[in-house]
Subunit: 193 residues, 2 copies
């Protein structure tokens, strides 16, 4: 970033992320973004080029900080059932704690994929496919360690764990209560038996 910029780009991206996360790409107006970041139109376009470029920055930063870092920490546990269980627990907790029920920025964007540019779509696809690979690695490790049944197919199971996780993130935005969300976790762990 050039030294002339007198504002903190990173924090402006975080503020824009909040706006995009809540309402999605299309429904977030330039006015919303200027209000969120406190920037003038001139500095906004100077710094970010376009709404689309800022959205991509937001999504990649979220992807890196919210998803990748969490998975890396869980992976390091070397406790596959614990890692999967903790992931579901933390998403349920996060969903219940969030007064605004923003859900998951990545999942929200996945639902909007047909309306978005393909490079945004590619970032979403990669994030979700990476999550699926995380699940597959945990299941394989669990089978190796003898804590997950060897009748479980790691690919089919990982695919369903991702699907449950995506469904959970949608249903947590207003349809499911705490009890229903917890049942998803029970079922997720049951897939490993």
């Amino acid at each position: 970033m050039p030294w002339e910029k007198s504002f903190d780009v990173d924090s402006a991206v975080d503020k824009a992320t909040e706006a995009f996360w809540k309402k999605g790409f299309e429904a977030t107006s330039l006015a919303d973004l200027l209000k969120a970041t406190g920037l003038t139109k001139g500095s906004f376009y100077n710094a970010f080029g376009s709404k689309k470029q800022l959205f991509t920055l937001s999504l990649l930063k979220y992807e890196r900080e919210q998803r990748r870092d969490v998975m890396a920490r869980l992976e390091s546990l070397e406790d596959p059932i614990g890692a999967i269980s903790q992931l579901f627990d933390s998403l349920i907790e996060q969903s219940l704690a969030d007064q605004e029920k923003k859900g998951c920025f990545l999942v929200n964007t996945a639902l909007d994929m047909p309306n978005l540019d393909s490079d945004i779509g590619d970032a979403v696809k990669k994030g979700l496919r990476d999550t699926e690979s995380f699940f597959a690695r945990q299941v394989r490790l669990g089978i190796e360690k003898g804590v997950i049944s060897d009748r479980v197919d790691p690919e089919v199971c990982a695919n369903s764990l991702l699907t449950l996780l995506v469904g959970l993130r949608v249903l947590a935005r207003g349809v499911f209560n705490k009890e229903s969300l917890s049942r998803i976790k029970v079922q997720a762990l049951d897939l490993l038996r």
Copy 2:
């Protein structure tokens, strides 16, 4: 409907539904709706009152024609595994056949719930909870008939089948291919064993 209206209200709702379904409530502008329905601003407001009222009409019509009718037909099969299997098959087929990848109008709206009025939210919640009840009835019937294991908890299972279905509808909008979508169905049926 008052006889003065010279256009077909039902068909106008269908055309508006297409627009809302593709882009969601917020991102669909009045201009989009006028273009889709071919109405003037005057007749639009005369007929529907507001964008929100039209959205509610669209959602309820979709709910009735796309969801409730399909479930009633499946329910009448009295073949619980067949009914659940056919529901997943038909959603996968529909998702793959749809060039625009619109997904499910109800699920798309569920994701947007925190941004919508509570009466729209209530309609969404009811539609999804009804789907869950459909699954629970099928599971109970299957246990009664001895085709579904009695170790399966109908409530937990129905909850997960709905979550898989919602996840499927999101992932079918661009992340999952045919093979990945089919795996969700394999897993769904596996929950019944």
